[in-house]
Symmetry: C2
Subunit: 444 residues, 2 copies
């Protein structure tokens, strides 16, 4: 992308950053009763820029995730973003590191953090927001970013090229559309399990006032509660608002079908993560059992191989990419291309710490250069922790405004990095917040 | 099991242990050209015994794996093996740690190491080898060890109980059979990719002399080489010896079918890991494409949910449990029960560091209390690194002898722990062995 040689990466810093979100029950759901939203955070330095990336976790284990990122330092030091594609492949295919997955879990999320930091750096070097950098890239270069291993029975490089070339002539009008109108969002803020009925009702009304046409409720802990909350939400929102439900992997296959059917009279738009993210066949069985209600999943899907199968098996109708779980931007491009091949809309997962900031770029790139469509597509929005970012998302009128600052919007403010560092930062050192301890055990 | 209260766990130690196996190309295959066989090793201490466990890795990243085990210390300190079932569930269901998988990769392997160490401790407290401790356990207690979440569409607790009860009346005769005859083994030692033709031929002859009736060849790097090596092996071994082939995840679906068909004239017994361990549908397509040659897989299968699907989709004909990748003994019991339900033989993966020592106990438990059968069942055997263990496996006449020492055979000799500690141990401090470095990159 750059016309002159990109400067070498001369330094890498890692930070274990945790926010005491469990105190407010923000982010509480059927499987995650007390998350402390956290980031295993990495900064890559050159003489001119910094590239920031992170893995999102929910508390305990963020130290392990940070150690995994640190283990990648020898790969990037002395390299530059001109080698980004090669670096992605080297880290993913390193046979010894691969043994720890392969391509899943802590080590893969670490690669994601570093790859995303490299993209933040590259976009800053180019002086462009990432979505526009990618959205203006020639189709051949985009295809070169993808690792097609294990995909060829569903998507070949030539098919990927055809998809990208079909969208190429009309890219410019979609770029202008995004700059003018942004990208539609939906909000999960009303629906956390830990909230009372009055708060649910109030937040539903606020969501409508804020221009959202879709909200999401967490379900799966207690059926009677879910029926009541779903009824309240539907009564409050009316029929024009789509209400998605999210079980966060709570159910076995038969239980998922029964539970969703019990909520069917309130017209749920999709059910998200009904069961284990590993259970392709289970998702397919649930999809058949609850039709015409749709299945959505993806935030915990480990890599492109599982997404490929979910598409092949018709296990999902909405594909929810996560910006920081699979192998970063490169693997997400593969997943966007798979979704386009199968004609399935991508509705990204967001929330957490900084996931909204990241994933907006991928959805906008998808619109510009891959699917070319916004139909039935929305990006999740959760309205907390954005204040910690240098270029926070701007959501207005129910839409993400197109980010214009150079980079991947991934950089956290220096004072937030300092204040929330665990366990030494001032927030955690104060007596007001109890650090995560082994005594806070959850029995699932 | 114990009649008096089990003593509390008062200490936990972790060790990063690495063996410089890359110098000899032992363990080289199409995906792993230069492994340094390693163990992220844990010791649990009570006032009376030590429980040992480990995750097996192949070098770089063993520090990350060790850090993940260390993160579990707060769960086990002050607890005892009487709470083993609860501890397994607490670690697996801890919502914050679960986010790092769920139930896969580094964090899940860490749980495996700790769970296995708890079982080693418990078996020592009972004064029994693990296979016999489990083999004499009442069916109800065994069922209580299993986490049935996500399994109920394939296996219910009642079905598991029925399987165990059906085998119960004849357990004693199978225990005596094991003590007298051991359990059949096959050997992978002749077939590593890095070995020359003469060494292959010599090791095939040695395998036959040693009483093995099945060997395994690594394949997948170069088809012409594989045809030549397979021909040499078949000519050397004759028709009575089964020759399995192992591609270590090298192929996409279509390539797997074509490659295996090209070797079909030499009558391969099974093809192992033809593609990504995550690709259930791919395995099923390959199984259809290469029939009557069979598919075997499992050493990299992340958990019981993926095994469930491989069975449901007929993606494998031989199920290869690994003792240290899924959530330890408890999850492997679930997998043995699933295999029994589907009538698929379990042929464990072994090799590495100490995997033979561990997995023999699980195969023998399966024979005694679950499947009740040895038909078409063999445990992999690789003849290196056993000298580092306190109670190494004994393989004679092509069979694992039943281990009789109390415990899980998981304890490494103290001097091996010291000598091979990385990076400070004397083996790595010497100039004769180059430590793993980032410059040793593999491009897959």
């Amino acid at each position: 992308m750059t016309q002159v040689a990109a400067p070498l990466i001369t330094g890498m810093e890692c930070h274990d950053i945790r926010f005491p979100t469990s105190l407010e029950l923000d982010g509480s759901d059927a499987m995650n009763p007390d998350p402390d939203y956290s980031a295993a955070y990495v900064v890559l330095r050159t003489s001119e820029h910094e590239g920031h990336g992170f893995a999102f976790t929910i508390g305990r284990g963020n130290d392990v995730q940070t150690a995994a990122i640190k283990a990648l330092e020898p790969y990037v030091l002395g390299r530059s973003t001109e080698e980004l594609g090669a670096l992605y492949r080297e880290m993913t295919h390193d046979s010894q590191l691969r043994w720890l997955g392969p391509e899943k879990g802590v080590m893969h999320m670490a690669i994601s953090a570093v790859v995303n930091a490299l993209w933040d750096l590259r976009a800053k070097e180019a002086g462009l927001p990432l979505w526009l950098l990618l959205g203006e890239m020639p189709p051949e270069q985009i295809v070169d970013l993808v690792d097609f291993r294990y995909l060829s029975d569903a998507l070949t490089p030539q098919e990927a090229l055809d998809i990208l070339r079909a969208a190429e002539p009309t890219r410019r009008e979609r770029i202008e559309h995004l700059k003018a109108n942004g990208y539609p969002a939906y909000t999960t803020s009303p629906g956390w399990l830990g909230y009372g009925d009055d708060k649910l009702r109030r937040l539903c009304l606020e969501a409508i006032e804020d221009g959202f046409t879709q909200i999401k409720l967490k379900v799966g802990a207690d059926l009677d509660d879910d029926v009541r909350r779903m009824r309240i939400a539907r009564e409050t929102c009316g029929d024009a608002v789509r209400i998605a439900i999210d079980a966060n992997q709570r159910w076995d296959v038969d239980a998922a079908v029964a539970w969703v059917r019990a909520l069917a009279e309130y017209d749920p738009w999709w059910v998200e993560e009904p069961t284990s993210p590993d259970d392709v066949l289970g998702h397919a069985a649930i999809a058949r059992g609850i039709a015409p209600i749709k299945v959505a999943t993806g935030e915990h899907v480990q890599n492109r191989v599982v997404f490929k199968q979910l598409l092949q098996a018709k296990g999902l109708s909405y594909l929810q990419i996560d910006a920081a779980r699979v192998g970063g931007v490169n693997e997400n491009i593969a997943i966007l291309l798979l979704a386009a091949k199968f004609g399935v809309p991508v509705c990204p997962h967001a929330g957490g710490v900084g996931l909204c900031e990241l994933v907006q770029h991928l959805a906008m790139f998808d619109y510009v250069a891959v699917s070319g469509s916004m139909e039935d597509r929305v990006i999740e929005y959760v309205d907390h922790l954005h204040e910690h970012f240098v270029s926070p998302v701007v959501v207005a009128g129910g839409a993400y405004r197109a980010p214009l600052d150079p980079g991947f919007s991934s950089a956290m403010r220096p004072e937030s990095i300092t204040d929330y560092s665990y366990p030494g930062g001032p927030i955690w050192a104060s007596t007001a917040t109890a650090p995560p301890a082994a005594t806070q055990r959850n029995h699932g």
